[in-house]
Assembly symmetry: C2
Homo-oligomer: 416 residues x 2
């Protein structure tokens, strides 16, 4: 895959939603025949119609120390049905429990599902916040559009999510590094098997209390440079948070584990471009001109426009330009969104020019890497005694400070 071909796809594909749309709302500026997929003329999500049915059997809240990521769910969930005739229906907050789905439902056959992941934090004073939830709402709309599911008013959904969190507030662990993982999901559930836009859909939101990703301090992960499988391709769906990007990665992950590595480093094309790490975005840091270059692959249609990715880039750029100061972060830092190949990383590792390499995502926040198994040999990645590096350490501290509200910022949105 030549870079010029990637560029061609990047510039010649009007119907593909680019990441810029997350900020500009470009996804609404699409041709009429495509816009017919959206529910613009029908009822949108309306928080004033909310019905709340509280559980009569609250579950016992488990001790925070026993939490395993994504295994525990709170007492309630939010559901909002949609039909092609009426648009979005009555939102309900109701007891957490099974969904009844016809065996013919689109999602079960054709994988018509999208989701988001975000975290709510509770500080010692009981104040609850979400981190940049507007980004998730915008991305969920671009995802919906891409897979022919109905779009919606992100502010309205966010208002309902806040109500759900308030109702299950007692489930939010207050221990450091703990949070409430919020999982909005939207599925097509037409009762007919046929590959077409569905006439029914269901949006639901569930909540899961989670502990820190690294309970005992950072532990760098090892990566297997995957060339046998791809996570995404030009013209594919890698830039959208669709279910289809996830289950196909399980077998490659098992393959990496079988070789003795923790996760996949998804390499693309004959040039072996670094793209993503497992289910995270990724960054490489090179020593450059007595300072550092922080590099992440560009949003070329194969890379998920991650909220943590954007936050790392924004923090580093603001610091580099002098707009803000992040304690401990070197001032001499260049921030690049550019392709990076394994050849460059391998050579930098050998010459001592490689400073660090890390994954970035909502679940782990920052995930440092200490080696990459590549074509039969291990490429060494430097890590500090705390497992982190010169850029990731201060960025992580700032990011987590802003997420938990310990460092005030407009990225932290008050729920209660």
């Amino acid at each position: 895959m030549s870079l010029s071909y990637l560029r061609h796809l990047r510039t010649s594909s009007p119907p593909i939603i680019h990441a810029a749309s997350l900020r500009t709302g470009v996804w609404r500026k699409v041709p009429t025949y495509l816009r017919s997929l959206s529910s613009a003329t029908l009822a949108d999500i309306d928080p004033s119609r909310l019905e709340v049915i509280r559980t009569s059997k609250p579950k016992e809240i488990p001790p925070s120390s026993s939490l395993k990521f994504g295994h525990t769910f709170t007492d309630h969930m939010l559901t909002i049905p949609w039909t092609v005739e009426a648009g979005w229906g009555v939102p309900q907050i109701r007891p957490y429990g099974p969904l009844e789905l016809e065996p013919s439902s689109t999602v079960l056959h054709y994988a018509q599902t999208i989701f988001e992941g975000m975290k709510a934090y509770q500080d010692p004073n009981g104040r609850v916040t979400l981190f940049r939830p507007d980004m998730n709402m915008k991305r969920m709309n671009t995802s919906a559009y891409r897979i022919a599911l109905p779009t919606f008013d992100g502010d309205a959904l966010l208002e309902l999510i806040k109500k759900l969190i308030r109702i299950d507030k007692s489930w939010i662990p207050r221990e450091p590094g703990h949070s409430l993982y919020v999982r909005p999901t939207l599925i097509g559930n037409q009762r007919a098997i046929g590959v077409a836009p569905p006439n029914e859909a269901l949006l639901f939101v569930i909540l899961s209390p989670v502990g820190p990703y690294y309970p005992n301090g950072f532990k760098p992960v090892s990566l297997y440079g995957t060339t046998e499988y791809v996570r995404a391709s030009p013209g594919g769906t890698g830039a959208f948070k669709l279910g289809v990007n996830y289950a196909p990665g399980i077998l490659p992950q098992k393959h990496a584990a079988g070789q003795g590595y923790d996760q996949n480093l998804w390499l693309h094309g004959p040039e072996h471009y670094l793209t993503e790490v497992g289910t995270m975005n990724m960054f490489v840091v090179f020593n450059k001109d007595g300072g550092y270059e922080l590099v992440t692959p560009p949003l070329d249609g194969m890379i998920l426009p991650g909220v943590t990715r954007d936050s790392v880039l924004t923090l580093a750029r603001e610091h580099a330009s002098g707009v803000k100061t992040i304690p401990g972060l070197p001032r001499n830092i260049t921030v690049s969104e550019r392709p990076v190949t394994m050849k460059e990383v391998k050579e930098a590792s050998k010459s001592g020019r490689l400073a660090e390499l890390f994954g970035a995502g909502t679940a782990a926040v920052i995930s440092p890497v200490d080696k990459i198994g590549y074509l039969g040999e291990d490429v060494h990645i430097p890590t500090g005694s705390d497992g982190m590096g010169p850029i990731s350490r201060p960025i992580w501290t700032e990011l987590v400070g802003r997420q938990t509200g310990a460092i005030p910022s407009d990225w932290s949105v008050v729920v209660e």
Copy 2:
């Protein structure tokens, strides 16, 4: 994407299951760490454990003339649960009705689903047959393996499917061109959100009576040569019947419709290789040396190994070699599994060397094409007055004869 790169992927990827495995069972010959995904040491599907719960409220069987593909389902369905601890559990034939799925189920978030499609036919004497169901059972196992779902004994599942069909036999329409569409589906339904092999899965089979795809004779379709989106890529999942290959195609289909065309012709790489048509395999026929060359793209990891595709190839090869004679099929025919580009098709159309182009799949059997919108102009495809061409016409007649049992063959498997 260069052809050499495709070849590289084809030859350098041991863990990728190639189509040959459909016949040889190669999918079992995988490294141990990958084999742990299969349920080899646990209980397999066991027809002797079947429980049958008959409906107390049989539905009224609708007139065949009212059938719309995939919208009507019979009175019963088959379900078989699986757990990582016990393997395959008790198969049940029970009244058709909703499945209860936890909102955290893997399939709803990460698209862990695979399916098959096949047809049962009933002749005027009430004899019921399936067409090459062993191919579907084998492919379903390769699909399961690829997406980290449990594999199973295909013969055992087929035995249970036959029982289900016998119970709902009265639903099989007997009119010409009608059949009972059989849809086996396997989903991951672990009750935890995390991208990993599931600890629970559910296999279910539903039945849908269907009418002929072309009730009023063949109507050739027009295709839009899609270069903005891809259906599959090297290292991706295109060679497996996974749900993830389907929902992402809906938006491109809307895009094609918006340009005035019926379906997508999926073109791949800068060379614009023809790969598939909508959700079907495809064939091109060129005039060659006073005879014909029947061409279909090779199983290079991007092409679904379709049962209809294999049947067309087998019939044409047997006829060409003189093993069998298909009435009306020209003897001078070369059968090629080779890449074909839009450049070749366009030049052949202009020079009169193009004989026909058609899609092939279970739903439509053969779907002739009369034009391709390509880079702003229409490439004309010849079609006969009946909508078909010199190769597709006799092949279709033979294929449908064998499917319905009118032409005896070992491809037709008696159910009752």
